[in-house]
C-alpha cells in the first residue's frame, strides 16, 4: 500500500535541517504498525509525508502504486480526504463547530449531501460512544471524549488507512487504554493503522514496530 525508497526530508530555513534521511520501508494493507522514537526524531514528519500532507525532499514515495511526486496538490488533498484519516495528539478539533459538525466536515469536502453527512457522522459517533455529546463544543469535552470525536471524524470517510500521531499523548493512562482499545477494534475490522508513539509499552503491543532515531529508520522489527 505504501512504499518509501530512500526518502529524505530537509527543512531549509536559514540552516538546512535534515529531519528524515534515507528512509526505506513498505507498509501493506491491514497492517497495524507502530512508529517509535524519541521526541524530535522525525516521527511526525514521517507521518505527514505518509498522509500526503507533506512531501519528501528526496527519494521516492509510492502511495498505492502511485508516485506522490506526480500528484497535484488538489489530488493529494482529495486522496487524503477520501482514503486517509488523521488522529492527532492534541485532537485538532475545530473549536467553532459542534461534535457532530466536526465529524461531518470531511464528508463536506467530499461533496456528500448534508442529510447523508449527518447520518454517517451520527453512526460513527455512536461507534465511538459519543452519541450523548453531539451538539457539544469541543471545549466542553474531556480529553478522552475529544479524542473519540477525532477518531469518529477520521473514520467517517471509511478510510483505507488511519494515521495516529501519539493519540494517547495528552490522555491519562486509563483513557489512553480506552482509545488504544478502540484502535485495536478498528484494526480487527480491517483498517490499516500506523501509530506514532514514544511509549515503548504501547509500542510493544503492536504487531509491527518501526524505530526511528535522528531521522533514520534504525530498526524494523517483525514479530
Amino acid at each position: 500500500m505504501i512504499r518509501l525508497e530512500q526518502v529524505g526530508k530537509t527543512y531549509l530555513n536559514g540552516t538546512a535541517l535534515t529531519v528524515l534521511d534515507d528512509v526505506t520501508l513498505s507498509i501493506a494493507s491491514h497492517e497495524y504498525v507502530g512508529i517509535l522514537g524519541p521526541s524530535g526524531s522525525g516521527k511526525s514528519t514521517l507521518l505527514h509525508i505518509l498522509g500526503l500532507l507533506d512531501r519528501p525532499s528526496r527519494g521516492r514515495f509510492l502511495y498505492r502504486g502511485r508516485d506522490v511526486a506526480t500528484m497535484s496538490d488538489e489530488e493529494a488533498s482529495r486522496t487524503r480526504g477520501r482514503e486517509i484519516g488523521f488522529i492527532f495528539q492534541s485532537f485538532h478539533l475545530i473549536p467553532n463547530l459542534t461534535v457532530l459538525e466536526n465529524v461531518e466536515m470531511p464528508l463536506f469536502y467530499q461533496g456528500v449531501p448534508a442529510a447523508e453527512r449527518r447520518e454517517r457522522a451520527r453512526a460513527r459517533l455512536e461507534q465511538v460512544r459519543m452519541s450523548h455529546r453531539l451538539t457539544h463544543a469541543p471545549s466542553q469535552l474531556s480529553g478522552g471524549e475529544r479524542q473519540r470525536t477525532a477518531i469518529a471524524r477520521a473514520l467517517v470517510t471509511q478510510p483505507l488507512m488511519l494515521l495516529a500521531d501519539e493519540p494517547t499523548g495528552n490522555l491519562d493512562s486509563k483513557t489512553g487504554q480506552d482509545i488504544l482499545g478502540l484502535l485495536d477494534e478498528l484494526h480487527a475490522e480491517g483498517t490499516t493503522i500506523i501509530m506514532i508513539t514514544h511509549d515503548i509499552g504501547i509500542a510493544r503491543r503492536l504487531p509491527r514496530l518501526i524505530r526511528i532515531n535522528d531521522g533514520r529508520v534504525t530498526e524494523e522489527a517483525d514479530r
Binding site: 496538490d73 488538489e74 488533498s77 487524503r80 475545530i94 466536515m105 471524524r153
Partner: protein, 419 residues
C-alpha cells in the same frame, strides 16, 4: 466550478463564524454599510433631481422653441422720439408679425402661436393680485400641455368676438372657493373686468401666476403701447408681440430649427430685443450638469466603499492568522486550497453583503429624509438597489481575495504545528 448548494453551505458556515463575533463583525461591515447607504442615497437623490428637471422642462414642451420680446439691453435710437415734452420717449422693440411670417416660411413644418404680454396690473375685489396677464390664442394651451382643471379654456368664439373672459393658472385657483364661484368674482386687468371661466394647470409655469385672456381682446383693449411712469419721466414702450412659440413635429428637429430661428432673429434684431428659450437645450444642459454631479457623488461613494473594503480586508487578514490551526485541520481532513479560498471568500462576501443589505435599508430611510430637508425629490429605483447590492458583494469579493489567498496558500503542516 462550484455548485450553488456548496456556495450556500460555505456562506451559512461563514455567517455562523461571523455571528460568533458579533461586535467585531458589526464593526467590520460598518464601512460597507456607510458606503452602500451613501451610494443608494446619492443615486436616489440624483435620480429624483433628474426626474424633477425632466418634468419641469418637459412642461415647457420639448418640441417648442419660444422667442419673446424683451427691452433691448443696448440703448438704441430706433424710433424713439424726443419730440414734444422733455423726458417723454417712445421705445419700440421686440418681435413682430413680420418675424412670425418669416419663421413660418423658414419652418413650414412647425406649428406656431403668438402671445401678447400685458403690462396692466391684475386685481381681484380691488386688491392687487401678483399675476401676469397675457393674451393668447386658443391653441396656446396645447403648446404647453396645459390642462383645464376647472371650468373651460379659451375658445375660438372667445377669440373671434374678443370676449372679456379669462382663464387663470392653477396657483390662483385658491382665490376661488368653492371652484364653482369662478364666475361670481370677476378679475380686473387694468380698468377692465373679465369673467373667469376656467383654471388651467401648466407644469412649466412653476410659481408664476398667469391670467390668460383672448389675444384679440388683449390687442383691442390694451393696444401695443404701454406707459411706464418713472421719477420725472414717462416712458412709452411699444411691442407688437409678446412671444412667438414654434412647435416642431419631433424633438429631433429642434436643434436644427433652433439655430435657424436664432440666426434669423439675430439678423432681424441686431439690437438684441428678444430672448430665445429652447426647452430641449435647457434640458440637455441640465442633464449634463446632473451627470457631472452624479459622477462626483458616485466617486465619493466609491471612496467610502474602498475604505470599507480595506477595513474588511484588514480584519480578515487577522481572522486568517487567528484560524491558522483550523486551516491546517481542514487541509488534513481533505480540504483543497480552493476549498479554503472559498471558505474565507464566502465569509467576507457574506459580511459585505450584510453590510450592503443594511446600507440599502438605511438608504430607504435616508432618501425620503434627505428629500424632505432639501426639497429635492428622492427616488430609489430597483436598478439602484441591485447596483448597490452588487457593489457590496463585489467589495467582499475583491477585498476578501487577499486574505483568502493567503489562507489557501498556507502550508498544511506548518498550519498544524502553529500555536
Amino acid at each position: 466550478m462550484i455548485a450553488p448548494s456548496r456556495i450556500a453551505e460555505f456562506m451559512s458556515s461563514g455567517a455562523r463564524n461571523l455571528l460568533r463575533h458579533k461586535l467585531r463583525s458589526l464593526l467590520t461591515l460598518l464601512g460597507v454599510f456607510f458606503g452602500v447607504a451613501a451610494v443608494i442615497t446619492m443615486l436616489g437623490i440624483g435620480e429624483g433631481a433628474q426626474r424633477s428637471v425632466l418634468r419641469e422642462i418637459s412642461g415647457l414642451g420639448l418640441r417648442n422653441i419660444i422667442a419673446e420680446s424683451i427691452q433691448p439691453t443696448k440703448p438704441v435710437e430706433t424710433s424713439s422720439s424726443q419730440s414734444g415734452r422733455r423726458g417723454l420717449r417712445l421705445l419700440t422693440f421686440g418681435l413682430t408679425h413680420r418675424d412670425v411670417r418669416q419663421l413660418q416660411s423658414l419652418l413650414p413644418q412647425a406649428d406656431s402661436t403668438i402671445t401678447h404680454m400685458l403690462a396692466a396690473r391684475v386685481y381681484l375685489n380691488s386688491s392687487r393680485v401678483d399675476a401676469r396677464a397675457m393674451g393668447v390664442l386658443p391653441d396656446y394651451f396645447s403648446f404647453f400641455h396645459a390642462q383645464v382643471i376647472a371650468g373651460r379654456g379659451l375658445t375660438e368664439a372667445d377669440e373671434e368676438r374678443a370676449n372679456r373672459v379669462a382663464v387663470v393658472s392653477e396657483n390662483l385657483a385658491h382665490l376661488y372657493h368653492p371652484p364653482g364661484s369662478l364666475a361670481a368674482r370677476p378679475i380686473r386687468i387694468g380698468q377692465v373686468f373679465y369673467e373667469v371661466v376656467g383654471v388651467v394647470r401648466q407644469a412649466a409655469q412653476g410659481g408664476d401666476s398667469r391670467v390668460f385672456i383672448p389675444y384679440r381682446t388683449a390687442r383691442t383693449t390694451y393696444g401695443t403701447t404701454s406707459i411706464r411712469r418713472e421719477a420725472g419721466s414717462v416712458e412709452f414702450t411699444k411691442s407688437e408681440l409678446g412671444q412667438i412659440i414654434l412647435r416642431l413635429p419631433s424633438e429631433e428637429d429642434v436643434p436644427a430649427a433652433a439655430s435657424l430661428v436664432r440666426r434669423n432673429l439675430e439678423m432681424n434684431h441686431p439690437q438684441g430685443d428678444f430672448r430665445m428659450t429652447v426647452p430641449l437645450e435647457i434640458l440637455s444642459a441640465k442633464q449634463r450638469t446632473q451627470r457631472i454631479l452624479n459622477l462626483v457623488l458616485i466617486a465619493i461613494a466609491a471612496i467610502s466603499l474602498v475604505v470599507g473594503g480595506i477595513g474588511i480586508m484588514n480584519i480578515m487578514l487577522a481572522v486568517v492568522t487567528e484560524r491558522i490551526p483550523e486551516i491546517g485541520i481542514r487541509r488534513a481532513i481533505g480540504a483543497t486550497r480552493q476549498d479554503i479560498l472559498y471558505q474565507f471568500l464566502a465569509e467576507t462576501v457574506t459580511l459585505s453583503s450584510i453590510g450592503g443589505v443594511l446600507g440599502c435599508l438605511c438608504g430607504f430611510i435616508l432618501v425620503p429624509l434627505a428629500s424632505r430637508f432639501t426639497g429635492w425629490e428622492g427616488v430609489i429605483t430597483p436598478g439602484a438597489v441591485i447596483a448597490s447590492l452588487a457593489v457590496s458583494w463585489l467589495v467582499g469579493l475583491v477585498f476578501g481575495m487577499a486574505p483568502a489567498i493567503r489562507a489557501s496558500r498556507m502550508d498544511p503542516v506548518e498550519a498544524l504545528r502553529y500555536e
